[in-house]
Amino acid sequence: MTLRRPDAACALVTGGSRGIGAAIARELAADGWAVAVNFQRDEDGARRVCEQITAAGGAAQPIQGDVRCRDAAEGLLRRAAKLGPVLCLVNNAGVRADNLALSLTDEEWESVLDTNLSAAFRLTRLSLLAMIRARFGRVVNIASVVGPRANAGQANYAAAKAGLIAMSKTIGVEVARRGVTVNTLAPGLISTDMTRDVESALLEGVPARRAGLPDEVAACARFLASDAASYVNASTLFVDGGLAA
């Protein structure tokens, strides 16, 4: 089994144009991965991330694609593979559509499950064979403390993130003996566009008494994608200032 990352390997980061995804893309590039920075609409953001990476001596390419589209996954991986064999997949793309359960619409339920969970599964399924053949692979799924912890108004988000954690564990044990790890990061309150509107209300419950930074989540993603994390599999790393404890 290859415990060392093969040369010229590529990492695909979904939702990499801003926030946590952008930070992860930069951090993986700093660790020597060629990075395919996926975006849905924010092309400027994705290009900025790629420019930051190349200015620092790394390799990156923006790749447009809506992960919700069932047909998009193959195209995303095919285009990413032009940078090198895709041996790291970071399923970061995610959306929120908050409402109390008795008011959540089918559309709000399905769109969050589809983007945050089903899309991650489809991309993972398609990326596994290349990793298995290479005897090296890293899937890092970005979940949340919401899921393991309740958060009123986010039944859909919680279900998707909890599902992501469970999915990661099962797939991780399926492929472990081929040198492929599948792990989850569970960020707590991280200061990004997605949390700006709720930050101050939630800080009281955070033992660290502050929001986390995207770079702090990215450092954990870098570790999980690294050779040093070869024996870490089917696990969840909480990056939450103690919130889930």
């Binding site: 064979l129 298995i132 053949r133 399926e174 492929v175 003996r177 081929r178």
Partner: protein
């Protein structure tokens, strides 16, 4: 370009792939079962990928679920060649 899928070439590719998984070469006989060789569904999924790359023949889960021995698998693939 895909290779010709004869019984001989298929057996060669299957043997080469399974020894790569750690199976002892001398144990890979036409009557050996996957169970005896400790070949599971993950191994078969990877073997199916190799078969597709080498011979251009696609194998799905339903195709192989009733296949028990190396010989059965080789015949199945060669028949599709």
């Amino acid at each position: 370009m895909s290779a010709q899928a004869t019984t001989e070439t298929v057996l060669d590719v299957v043997t080469e792939t399974l020894t790569g998984f750690g199976t002892e070469r001398e144990q890979i006989t036409p009557t050996a079962t996957f169970e005896e060789l400790d070949i599971d569904s993950l191994d078969l999924a990877e073997l199916a990928q190799v078969v597709e790359e080498r011979f251009g023949i696609q194998l799905r889960g339903a195709d192989v679920k009733d296949v028990k021995t190396i010989g059965d698998l080789v015949e199945l693939i060669a028949a599709r060649g």
